[in-house]
């Protein structure tokens, strides 16, 4: 009994102190700043990708502040580290909203982290901007998706591979890491391929665990599969670190991009940083932005990022790279600021209403537009081929931005779902 009483006591002490800190924070939140949450893993396995997004978020906030802030107030970033630990994302999100009283949060990378924080944002009616390409099948009132839905990345990539320029591929290997994003994407892609007349015998689907590092068997299987019929292409949804051993193995096994092209959805400039890219030349990636895209907006943006990296002495300052999710972060924060100006308030519901139809001149060279209804951006799609210096040659692009279809028409039953979040 004694221990239990002690326990209760200590819990209440902790609760009281948390409440105190909370009020203190609230008291500190003076009226001259608007607090903005940044929820990206700065340690753990996802740090490799998410650290850059945190820095980009801070640069965007600095950029807005330099131009006078929002509603005449400066933005004040609150950075927390959920440490690649999915449940911790929810805890940190709750802390951002309830204690720090942030007006909006920019964050998450993996789909599982997004799923973990969703209930928090719904319950506390706060706003989340999610900057990464994902599998769709979700439409939440409290989330704005600035990354690509499957029809803005995966499907155009497949169409390219099946076209004459892409090598008229007839057989497909769907290769991925074993979790929700690759599984769902591959489900959509398989059904898309069926609609194009590709039979199941011409599709091979393989998954590997997170962090898998020995791709000898899989590469041998791909080789075997490719030998059994017409031109084969590989669609890779391998996420994170595993890409390096995979591409190395491809190089060692003598599989060149022109024999069996591999198109990846999670490999960008930042992921290629730790890779010897020579054996990869010609392999493909599909994104809504590449650092090598040539236009004045992009040139200025890259320069701003380089200066920022140098001024803040970031560890990557000697070779600063930009990539698609960073662009999506940049667009998201600026659009939010515009929406707040329009709504003249940071109130969640008013900002959501003001977000509809917002436009922003994106570094991709196109004007990104927030769909009036479905909380996704209209984005262009680029297909790039890896160059020896780790950058991408854009070999194909859509004529203009494409509207997102969060509910993929290739999944049965989705045609009945409305193209806007339920209130």
């Amino acid at each position: 009994m004694n221990t239990r009483r002690n326990f209760i006591k200590s819990v209440s002490v902790i609760a009281a102190s948390i409440a105190l800190i909370g009020t203190a924070a609230f008291a500190n939140a003076a009226d001259d700043t608007i607090k903005v949450g940044v929820l990206h893993s700065l340690s753990g396995t996802m740090a490799i990708s998410e650290t850059a997004l945190k820095d980009m978020a801070l640069m965007s906030i600095e950029d807005i502040n330099k131009k006078g802030g929002v509603l005449g107030k400066k933005l004040e970033p609150v950075v927390v580290d959920p440490a690649s630990d999915w449940p911790l994302f929810a805890t940190k999100a709750r802390q951002l909203i309830s204690q720090d009283h942030v007006a909006v949060t920019f964050g998450c990378w993996t789909s599982v982290s997004r799923k973990s924080v969703l209930p928090v944002y719904k319950e506390l009616n706060s706003l989340l901007f999610y900057p990464v390409q994902y599998e769709g099948e979700e439409l939440e009132k409290n989330v704005f998706y600035t990354g690509a839905a499957p029809n803005q990345q995966a499907i155009p990539a497949l169409e390219y591979l099946m076209s004459k320029d892409g090598g008229s591929a007839k057989r497909f290997v769907l290769l991925g890491t074993d979790y929700v994003y690759p599984r769902t994407t591959n489900k959509i892609l398989r059904s898309f391929l069926h609609s194009k007349g590709v039979s199941d015998a011409d599709i091979m689907e393989e998954y590997t665990p997170f962090g898998h590092s020995d791709y000898q068997t899989i590469v041998a299987n791909i080789k075997k599969f490719a030998g059994e019929g017409k031109k084969t292409a590989v669609i890779s949804t391998i996420n994170g670190d595993s890409n390096v051993p995979f591409y190395k193995e491809l190089g060692n096994a003598g599989l060149k991009a022109k024999d069996i092209p591999v198109v990846a959805f999670s490999v960008g400039e930042e992921e290629l940083r730790g890779v010897d890219t020579k054996p990869l030349v010609g392999q493909l990636a599909a994104w809504n932005y590449f650092m090598s895209v040539k236009n004045p907006t992009n040139t200025a943006w890259i320069k701003q990022w380089k200066d920022y990296a140098k001024a803040h002495n970031l560890p990557t300052a000697n070779k600063p790279l930009t990539n698609d999710p960073m662009e999506a972060t940049w667009i998201g924060i600026h659009m939010w600021a515009q929406a707040v100006e329009k709504a003249k308030s940071t109130d969640t519901d008013k900002v959501i209403a003001a977000m509809a139809g917002q436009t922003y001149k994106a570094p991709s060279g196109f004007v990104a537009e927030m769909d009036p209804k479905n909380h996704h951006l209209h984005k262009p799609v680029f297909i790039g081929e890896v160059k020896a210096d780790g950058q991408f040659n854009v070999v194909w692009k859509t004529p203009g931005p494409i509207k997102a279809q969060p509910w993929s028409p290739y999944i049965p039953g989705n045609d009945k779902k409305p193209d806007e979040p339920a209130i």
């Binding site: 340690s43 740090a47 000898q216 075997k224 060149k256 991009a257 890779v275 010897d276 054996p279 010609g282």
Partner: protein, 529 residues
């Protein structure tokens, strides 16, 4: 017999002459790099038909992405040298010159055309390489004329054999039935997976209609299949041994720290990570100071990684572990904490991003045993390296004084101490040795995977699996366990896929440990208690 040779020689010189006469015009050069792919490929076929060997350097420059264009001006950019492709003079590169972008299809066509033109080279070696390259390229009817011509004047039988294959790959789509029949037969004569692909793609509903040709294609496919099956099996065994060698390298150090000393060393993976970063540091030093000897940086990295990790290991032992001997659970917690600190330390110094460790040239590529079995060089070297480390460690433990002390202290600490062994020093040395070997594993891992702060996390479970399965305290056990695990998991992966294979392996180990808790090899001695 002299006459045909003479004829060939005249033919070659005649061709060279024609080549001169048709050297690429400025317009041709422009059409090769502008317009859509279809137009460019059309221009390429024209170059191929003209057998203009002088076009090779220009095509090579396009293929190497060195060509830029502005209006009617073409520039070839080689590092800082810029020349005008039409006049051949050195010029300044304007800022708004655009890159000529080749996609895979285009690059493939350009390379194949270069190879086809190279078939007329005077050197047999170049012709042989060109023929091999054509065998790998997509067959294109546009090159048929050229290949036939090359075949006629070819004197080397090896090159000729390959050219037969190349021609057959194109002619399998011919209009003429007899030609198709001959081509199908020809393609069955080499166990090339490419041939298998060409043949089986003819079998589809929109492919071959003639029953006789279909029968010939099926016969050829069977022949190829038979050849390939043996090498597939061999390949599977090789991948198993290769995975086993990596597991063994990862586990050997742990066999010392956990197996011999009884420390549940959760920081073992981080020792490998430090070894890999040591390799990275040496690589960068070579880049800066010894670029000429860059290909040999690994040789310097091996001792460096060993000593760095050994010293880190000794420091950890002195600061943390020596207070915890005989309390394995506490060592687990303490070393886990150490592992977190080491990871964060590396993150602070080198950044959270992975770093790039380049393979030396001799580590890339592979030995081609058969067209469907290429043994990658890096895997072969790592197997050799694992054997070397194992041998060195065995020598050290069984043949040296330090090894004798380590064995004495781990078997009976009190008695060893009584006979005058400085047990504290031996503990530190043994832990340093285990860590150093982990560092060596890190050098090997840097060549096949990522080098990042979390590198060790992926290997720690596997290492424990090997040591526990092999029998705690047994080097031989670790060897058998590593090889067994490697081959079994690769075999299962072939059947069930990587995810299920991993689960099956764990299930097998659980059952095995239940039946035989002491592992493969029991430790016969008094210290087990």
């Amino acid at each position: 017999m002299n006459l045909p040779k003479y004829l060939v020689a005249t033919l070659i010189s005649l061709l060279m002459f024609i080549g001169h006469a048709f050297a690429l015009t400025a317009d041709q050069k422009i059409t090769l790099i502008t317009g859509d792919n279809e137009l460019r490929i059309g221009a390429l076929s024209k170059v191929a038909e003209s057998s203009d060997t002088e076009a090779i350097p220009y095509l090579q420059a396009i293929s190497d992405d060195q060509v830029k264009i502005k209006g009617k001006q073409i520039f070839i950019v080689n590092d800082s040298d810029v020349i005008d492709a039409i006049t051949g003079k050195a010029v300044e590169l304007p800022d708004d010159a655009e890159d000529v972008v080749n996609n895979n299809q285009m690059r493939g066509e350009i390379d194949a055309t270069i190879s086809a033109l190279n078939l007329f080279s005077k050197e047999t070696k170049i012709r042989l390489d060109a023929a091999k390259a054509l065998l790998d390229a997509d067959p294109s009817a546009g090159r048929l004329v050229l290949i036939k011509k090359a075949e006629q004047q070819e004197t080397d039988s090896a090159v000729k054999q390959i050219l037969f294959q190349v021609r057959a790959a194109i002619e399998i789509n011919s209009e003429d039935k007899a030609t198709r029949l001959a081509a199908a037969k020809q393609l069955g004569e080499s166990a090339n997976p490419g041939n298998k692909q060409i043949l089986s793609s003819r079998l589809g509903p929109d492919g071959e209609k003639d029953q006789e040709v279909v029968a010939e294609i099926k016969h050829s496919l069977n022949l190829i299949q038979g050849h390939m099956a043996i090498y597939d099996k061999l390949g599977q065994i090789f991948t198993g041994i290769s995975l086993g060698s990596i597991l063994l390298l990862a586990a050997l150090g742990l066999a010392v720290t956990y197996g011999l000393m009884g420390v549940i060393n959760m920081a073992h993976g981080e020792m490998m990570m430090i070894g890999a970063y040591a390799t990275f540091v040496i690589q960068n030093l070579f880049h800066h100071y010894l670029p000429g000897a860059f290909n040999w940086y690994l040789l310097a990295a091996i001792p460096f990684a060993f000593f760095v990790t050994a010293i880190v290991g000794i420091i950890i032992e002195r600061l943390v572990l020596r207070h915890l001997y005989g309390r394995p659970l506490e060592t687990l917690l303490a070393t886990w904490g150490v592992s977190l600190m080491l990871m964060q330390l590396v993150r602070t110094i080198f950044g959270a991003q992975n770093v790039e460790v380049e393979n030396p040239v001799w580590m890339s590529g592979g030995i081609e045993l058969a067209t469907n079995l290429i043994l990658p060089n890096n895997r072969i070297y790592i197997i050799g390296f694992a054997v070397f480390v194992l041998f060195a460690m065995w020598m050290l433990i069984t043949k040296t004084r330090l090894g004798l002390f380590i064995r004495a202290v781990t078997q009976n600490r009190a008695m060893a101490s009584c006979t005058g062994v400085n047990t504290r020093k031996v503990d530190a040395m043994a832990f340093g040795l285990g860590s150093g070997i982990a560092g060596l594993a890190g050098v090997a891992l840097s060549q096949i995977g990522n080098v990042g702060p979390a590198l060790g996390q992926g290997y720690i479970v596997d290492s424990f699996m090997v040591v526990v399965l092999g029998g705690v305290g047994q080097l031989a056990g670790a060897v058998y366990a590593a090889m067994g695990l490697g081959i079994v998991s690769k075999f299962l992966e072939g059947i069930a896929g990587a995810v299920l294979a991993k689960i099956f392996v764990l299930v097998i180990i659980i059952i095995f440990i239940q039946k035989r808790p002491q592992g493969l090899f029991a430790f016969k001695g008094r210290s087990i208690d």
